[in-house]
Amino acid sequence: MSVLARIDRGLWLRIILSIVLLVAGSILIDGFATTATLASITENVGLIGLVAAGLMLTMVVGQLDIAVASVAAVSGIIALLAGQNSLLLGIVAALAAAGVYGGVIGWIIARTGVSSLVLTVCMLIGLRGLALVLVPQAPAILSDDLFWVSDGLVARIGLAMRGTRLGLSMYAVGGNVERARGSGVNTTRVYVAAFAGSALLAGTAGILASLRSGSASGTGMDSLLLDGVTAAVVGGVSLEGGRGNIINVLLGALIVRIIAAAVALEGVQSSVESIATGGVLLAMLLVDYALARRSGLPFANSWRVLAGPVRI
């Protein structure tokens, strides 16, 4: 059981950590406390928060969607392609495609019991190809208020996770599938909702990112997967399933971005950033492991989907 996720003080810990990091960064690093840096952090937290929130949905039900970055790329490209005449049409088309795709994946996983890791890796490969096939030419411009749409979306999902039957069923399924099924939860519906939600959120991130830059490419969003997983894990979502909430995930995204921005100012942008993100993720996994072992929990058994052999 993920101990980090269980600590009730986790929320405060993350808030304090974010503030400490912000203050430390402003004092220690030249050029950190500028509007440009802060704006870039905010914007990236928005994008990564969306992806991480989607990953959280699949992680809560005890699965993992590896294809988020490819989904984001394809959605962004569809939005640009279909949105050449009307931006709204493009966005609707892209989201519809992402939602249907995610629903189908969730349904397949629920019906066949195939490992979500393995299936979504196949999807990662295929969708990356699709993105390369579709690569758009026409640039599009994003009006600023669309970022508020994304924040609204994340907030709504956060509320729905706690306040609706479906949301609560997700936690139940993640905690113990058999017990959830026994108590009358429609597990197929839960998986479909989780994967459709994940694809929708990743798709939204992809649309926003590609509208912002006016372009999208098949591999340009690869880093979203690592960033998203790191944000979710730092945000206390347990890979074991059944735990995680949206505020902590957003704080996780904030912490990850602050660290990345801070290191980026110190050296070569992309390489140092990937060291930092990878390092933070590994460190979090190890801390989680150490804490679980100290409290005597049978750690290896608790990683339900992922520690054991990956079952087809």
């Binding site: 393995v118 295929g126 997967l225 052999p309």
Partner: protein, 334 residues
């Protein structure tokens, strides 16, 4: 394939490192043949429809192209067989090892020393990943993080420069041919045989298969499960080291993007070859077959003038199709 495998419905799945239980000699035989069938079909179709496919240089190119993916996939298959799916750090560790190898040669070390250091580095990289995963960390997430940090470090340390060798002592291995066959392809085939023998004839190999099949049972009968997981990751890293040495031999340089897409190719080869991702069914040659199928497909599509995106899309679709077919078959067999 579907009809053949459905014959096995109702029989329990026997895990013995050989063909899983499909009823009768026929079923077993068909299942062994099934992965090879696509190769034959693709080959015949390609020979009939694509001009230039059966030409000598093109066939050599196919085998050579599948050799690199194939060697990496044979190594990575150890991870799959031990039940941990796959490492997402394959291309990153291959790049790292290529840099290590080239750098050693650049500073004037002998070839033997360079190879030794590269292998030691590989063992180290594999052992770290294996240790993390053997403790129960999520294999995918842990290797994703490890690969990212590793790649970042290499790009940082090398200043993202391309190192070019003036004198290349391994050119004969990476680019040469023996009796008309590319040496890379020979290494690939030899490795396939060694790997298969290792899994079926040696104690460690059989333990690897059993660990993947049923980690709890393996632990109970005293098999050092954690050690075997580490060994599997070390084997995968050794495969990457070999790939690194071969490719450096071929192109005489190391650069940060020299292995772009290798991880995806390896995963696709393992999936298309049909090595059961749940582990415990150690049919290593399937990884090689998977690599061959994929390269042949890519080659045909390339000759037909399809672009990279379509090829990648088809790889993913094929991998998903094989995966789902196997899953549904197994479900019925139970």
């Amino acid at each position: 394939m579907a009809a053949n495998m459905a014959e096995g419905a109702g029989t329990p799945i026997v895990v013995d490192g050989e063909t899983p239980g499909v009823s009768g000699r026929w079923g077993g035989w068909m299942q062994t043949i099934a992965p090879i069938a696509p190769i034959v079909v693709i080959f015949v179709l390609a020979a009939a429809s694509v001009p230039g496919f059966v030409s000598g240089p093109n066939l050599i190119a196919v085998v050579q192209a599948s050799a690199i993916t194939g060697i990496a996939a044979i190594g990575a298959a150890a991870i799959t067989i031990v039940g941990k799916f796959v490492s997402l750090a394959i291309e990153q560790q291959a790049v790292t090892l290529a840099y290590v190898f080239t750098a050693m040669l650049m500073v004037g070390q002998s070839l033997t020393a360079a190879i030794a250091v590269t292998l030691v580095a590989a063992i180290l990289l594999g052992a770290v990943q294996g240790y993390l995963v053997s403790r129960g960390l999520n294999p995918i997430v842990a290797t994703l993080a490890f690969g990212s940090a590793l790649y970042g470090s290499v790009v940082l340390l090398s200043d993202n420069r391309t190192i070019t060798l003036r004198q290349n002592p391994v050119a004969w291995l990476g680019g040469g041919t023996s009796w008309g066959v590319p040496n890379q392809a020979i290494v690939f085939l030899v490795l396939l045989v060694i790997g298969t023998l290792f899994l079926s004839r040696t104690r460690a190999g059989r333990q690897l298969v059993l660990t993947g099949a049923n980690p709890k049972a393996a632990e109970l009968i005293g098999i050092p499960v954690r050690k075997l997981v580490v060994i599997a990751y070390v084997l995968a890293a050794m495969g990457s080291a070999l790939v690194a040495i071969l490719v450096v031999g071929q192109v005489s340089q190391a650069s940060s993007n020299m292995f772009d897409g290798l991880t995806i190719d390896v995963v696709a080869a393992i999936l298309v070859g049909g090595i059961a991702i749940q582990g415990g069914e150690g049919q290593l040659w399937r990884a090689g077959v998977g690599a061959l199928i994929l390269t042949m497909l890519s080659n045909v599509m390339l000759l037909l003038g399809l672009d990279a995106g379509v090829r990648l899309l088809l790889k993913g679709a094929l991998a998903a199709a094989v995966l789902l077919t196997m899953t549904v078959m197994k479900g019925r067999g139970r």
